[in-house]
């Protein structure tokens, strides 16, 4: 399964890119699984994903909890809590 992952703010900065396309292994079911899988790459990834409780996510542009199943989504975004306005 092919998935586009978007990163924003300090997640993007630590990883060093804004977007990538990945093929998910079958054991990656939820956003939390995805975070753990990305973190295992080490380097900027593990730095960005070091504190999952500080991360927020959206699946196909809808905000979700990290326990949400990715299912057949096309796009997952991972980012810090929002600070607009």
């Amino acid at each position: 399964m092919t998935l586009t992952i978007l990163y924003f703010a300090w997640v993007r900065e630590r990883i060093g890119e804004a977007e990538e396309t990945v093929t998910l292994p079958s054991h990656v079911v939820t956003v939390a699984d995805l975070v753990a899988w990305l973190s295992a790459r080490g380097g900027g990834y593990s730095e960005a994903m070091a504190a999952p409780e500080r991360l927020r996510a959206a699946i196909d542009q809808n905000f979700v909890g990290l326990d949400a199943a990715i299912g057949g989504a096309r796009e997952v975004a991972i980012f810090p809590p929002v600070t607009g306005g």
């Binding site: 542009q61 607009g84 306005g85």
Partner: protein, 146 residues
Amino acid sequence: MIRILVSVAPIDLAGEMARVERQDVGAVASFCGLVRADDGVDQLELEHYPGATEAALDRIAHEAVERWSLQAATIVHRVGPMRPGERIVLVAAAAPHRRDALDACAYLIDRLKTDAPFWKRETRGDEARWVEARESDTNAAERWTQ
């Protein structure tokens, strides 16, 4: 009657208010957030999630229109780099009566703070830092669900 705009351009307050007032309204409440000049910030940069941001703002505006008797709801948010004193966001609500306009205006900005994907980065001299989310914003948004 709902207007959503996310843009790198400076916010045209007079133009936006004129749009809102163009209708048969009796009351317009608005809120503007600005880059504060008093805490040493040289530049504020706003990052957003294109597409998702506009959808979130549209959802917030529609919720306000469902909840109060409104004739217009406007959310304009600037993105990219901006200087102290410049406007970051403008929300406005127009209604026949003032209570609806005032409450809807507060709702729009409270919700925007927690429900729309924007991120602020402040630069002071050589140092840049991402602004931390505030618990008070979450509390302000949650008071509308009680």
